[in-house]
Symmetry: C2
Subunit: 272 residues, 2 copies
Amino acid sequence: MSDRSVFFVSDGTGITAETMGNSILAQFAIKPRHIRRPFIDTVDKAFQVVREINTAGEREGKKPIVFTTLANDDVLDILKTCQGKVFDVIKTFVEPLEEEFNMKSNHRVGRFSDPSVDGEYNNRIDAIHFSLEHDDGQSSRNLESADVVLVGVSRSGKTPTSLYLAMQHGIKAANVPLIPEDFDRGFLPSMLKPYKKKCFGLTIDPERLSQIRNERRPNSRYASLENCRAEVSSAEAMMRREGIAWLSSTHKSIEEIATTILRDLRPDRLIY
Amino acid sequence: MSDRSVFFVSDGTGITAETMGNSILAQFAIKPRHIRRPFIDTVDKAFQVVREINTAGEREGKKPIVFTTLANDDVLDILKTCQGKVFDVIKTFVEPLEEEFNMKSNHRVGRFSDPSVDGEYNNRIDAIHFSLEHDDGQSSRNLESADVVLVGVSRSGKTPTSLYLAMQHGIKAANVPLIPEDFDRGFLPSMLKPYKKKCFGLTIDPERLSQIRNERRPNSRYASLENCRAEVSSAEAMMRREGIAWLSSTHKSIEEIATTILRDLRPDRLIY
C-alpha cells in the first residue's frame, strides 16, 4: 500500500478532477493511493470528506493531495479547511478567464447536461447502438451512414476502438474483420466495396496477436504464431493494394488509436 | 459560427486538456469554436499551431483561448509565443507539487502507457469484451465473474452504461432485460437468481421511454405510452420486491449513472 493519498473531490462525477490529477501525477515517480469522492454537493458531505482527508494524513504522516472541481463556494470553503494540499482545478483558471471574457462565471456545478433534452448526448447514444449493431461485420444495413469502418484481422483492436469512437466522440464506427477466406479470394469483403474511402485499417505485431489469441483459445491454430504471421501479412498486403490507411495497435491505447483516426479520416471532427 | 476560438493543444491525445478546458468553459455563458490539436510533439508542429492560433485571433478580433498539456519545454516555449491566452494545465500544478513531494517531475509526455505491457489496460479490454458478450442477456456463461449486472426494461440505458463501466473503469458489467414475459410470470429472469446481490436496476420515465422507442419502432405497441407505463411500473414493482437498488436514467448521463453504480455497489472501486 502506498504511503500517500490523493483525493479527487467533485460535486459531479469527478471525471475532470481525476483526468487532470492523473495527468499531473504521471509527471512524478510515485504511486499514491487514489480516492474518488463524487457527488459532494452539500456542506455536510464536505465535512465528511475533510475528516477522511485528515485521517489519511495523520495515518500516513504526509499531506494528502486533493484535486477538486467544486463550484459551490460554501462547499469549497469547507473542503479548504482540510489538512491536505488542495488544488482547485476550476478556480485557478476561471478568474483569469473572467477577465479575458469580461464576464462573470456562473459557478455552475460541474454536471452533464440533461440527456433528455441534449441533442449531442443523444447522438452519442445512437452512435453506440450503431457501433454495436455493426460490430464484427454483423450487418451491412445502413453501412452508408457509418462515419468510419474499421477493418483488420480478428483481435487487432477493432471492437474497443469502434465503441470508444462512438461513446466519446459520437462517431458511428462500424467494424468488419478480414478473415482467411478474404485472403484466399484476394478481395476485400464485398460489403466494404462501396465504402472504401471510409475504411481505416488496424494491424498488430503477430507476436502480440498470438499472445492475445492464446488467452482466448489456447494452443489453437487460430492463435499460433505461424497463422498470426500469415494473417497479418495478408491483411497488410490487402490494405496496401486497396489504398486503405492503417496503423498498428500494438503499442497504442484505444484513446490514441481513436484520436489518430479522427485526425486522419474525419479532421472536421477535431473542430466542433 | 462562434466568434471566439478555443484550442486544445497536446503532445498526446489531448483528452486531459479537453476535459479540463470544457469544465472551465462550462462556467461561462459562451459557445466558442473548439479546435483539437493532438500529437503536437515537435517544434515544427508547434509553429504550425501558433500560426493557426494567430490567424484565428486576427479573423475574430479576439484572443483565442489555448488549453495545453505540453510537457516538452522546447515545444511549449514555441506555443507560448502565440497571440492567444495560454493556460498551461500541467505546469500550473506541477511546480507546487514538486515542492510538496520534494522531488523533480520527469516532464513525461502525456501519453498512455504501452498497452502491450500494461495489466490495467488489458483488464479494460477484457471487460469490454465481457460486457459485449453479456449484453442484453445474451449469455449466462461466466455470469459469476460479472462485477455488476444491470437490469431494466428495453431501452432504459443498460447497454451504454455497461459499456461505459467496462471502458472507463474496467468493470465487467453484464446486462439483462426485464421483458413482458418476466412480468407475466412474476419472477426475475432465472439466470439472475444466483446473482441478485450484484444486480443494479435502471428505470426511466415512461414518457421519455416511449419517445426513445418511437424513434426505433414508430407507432408500435412496443413504443406506445400505455405499454411503456405498464412495463416501467411492473419493472419497478419487481425490483422493489426483489430488493434490487435502482435509479432513474431519465435525466442522467451514462457517466453519472456509472459513477453512482460504482459508489453504491462497488465502493472499493472508488479507491485504487
